[in-house]
Amino acid sequence: MKLSCLWTGLLLLASAGPAFAVPTPCVASGGTNCPARIGDAPQDSLVSTVNVPAVACPGSQPVLSVAVQLTHGDVGDLTISLQNPAGDSATLLSNLQGASGACRGGDVSAVFTDGGAAPICAALIPSVSGTISPSSPLAPLLASSPEGAWTLTVVDAANNGDGALLDWSIDVGCAPPPAAGPLPAPMSWQAFAAIFALLALAAFGALRRQRSPR
């Protein structure tokens, strides 16, 4: 009985944890157009797809993060958007601004996820890096099954300035399971003092019983 409970607990932990959060990289999974040149405006945008396998998150919500690696001379020219298999879209990055006007920095090497930091235009390359918030939230893209072809679109809105999409990946992970209930409130010092006094009194009584003659 006790052994079966242990196995059940382990299985629940495995299914609820991040073990199913397997990123699907474009290059390694044989996605399309990675690497590929980003067409300079007014050329067609670059479209790249990857196929995401089925994801199971029993007892928790799936969460989405998208890693993008691209090289480009003028990051502020770019708009990057993501579309799920059902056709819903979110914008990851759009015409990022620098200190004065469009960001003239180079390259993006960043992970986009809801709740990330606001993107900034850094002087060093990569100009956009770290874990950053997309321009529009990603959570709605998980309203339907994530299984299927996801599409990344990169648009270069200004003529001159070249670049290429090197790789990107989709990571549909599982959020930590919700806690069973609220934790008990911490003990007040008065309650702690009362318990201590009771324990001391009991110990004192026990000592007295040991010393008293039979």
């Binding site: 040149r37 300079d40 090289t71 001379g73 990569p126 070249d162």
Partner: protein, 443 residues
Amino acid sequence: MSTSALTGFSRWLTACLAAAACCWSSTAPAAVGTVDAAPAATLLLPYFETDLANPNGTQTSVRISNASATAMLLHATLFTDLGIPTLQFDSYLTGYDSLDIDMRLLFQGIVPQTASAGQDPTDRISPKGPLSQDINFASCSGILPPPGLPPTTPGVLAENTTWNSGTLAAIRAAHTGQASTLWSGQCGAVAHGDNVARGYMTIDTVSYCTMRYPSDPGYFGANSSGDVTYQNVLFGTATTIDRTVQTVYTENLVSVEASPTDPTTTTSGIQTFYGRFNGNTATDGREALGTVWSARNMEGTPIALDTRFVVWRDPGQVVTPFACGGSLPAPFPLTTREVAAFDEEENVTFAANNLMPYATQLVDGATLSPYNFGIVRFDLGLDDGTVRQGYVSSRILRSGARDAMASPASLLMTAPQAQCLGNASAQCANIPPPSFGVGRDVN
């Protein structure tokens, strides 16, 4: 601020103003044979550095513009710092169009996307303005827009792919002094051991898309029968940026004007820009650069100035790849005929003749001059007296500060002028003498 610091700063300011005045005063009409800053048929990027390991290290990017309403076809060629060609590609400009060549991206296999009207009928790759001509170069079909380059690479590459990894590795190795499959494992550049690609680049106007190097037969031809044209319409700038130390230098690309009729560019035996590839027969019709130059030099205290000279030199002959680790191929190392450093009291010191031995390099001013302030005079001929064209510009940096200045050296004598000094032969009859009082020797 101390008096000495003020004096140093005032010198710095004066130099900046002088450089600005030089830029503003370039309004004289273009003259073939004078190396002036005018639209030209060939542009020279005399030196580039691209740190392949660190994108925030030194990088170079180029902007080329078409000064005319006429559509132009360009042919760019990269050379190693020993003057060996490694890579070529064609680009198309509509009238008044501009083109960026970012060397950081180029060494990742990303070439500017352009196409003439025939390859871009909807005008989405090379859009044109209301005053711009946009025509079809039928010879560019299959070449523009650039597929994975170079187009002669075996294997099929989709139009929008980057180069294949093997080609890219070969070109990167070629410009860093490593064994390259471009030359069956031989080397073609100086190995500095720092993974920085170095070299120079030329851009020529051409009449059709070509896969020939300037060193190939047919690239130049008598009576306009070669690939190149004589359309003096190009101008441009090169920006060298080091994000780590936060410095930026921008300078003009070197204009090399062409003429099918001017005696300075059409007289066999008189040096021309591409003379080393055609036996100095002047079939390229491009003016030779200078051989004697003079430039400001500022070093050291009180405000930590540092001068670096870009020195481009004509090897004078075709250079062949060589066994890695062995001696450099002929004619290297190049000697200099005379490098004289003056201080501000006209004291003079002559530098050794082996301090700028390659086809292109960056030379620390402190190695040429013992003086903190002064000028350096370069005769880029060889120590045996042979006249060789070259080019010098100076980059002056105030260490620890972001202000930096780049300006071309003053041209004292072109290569043809030096060739014709005291030469009364017929081939020199139409070569104008150098300015009054300027000779090849300091004393």
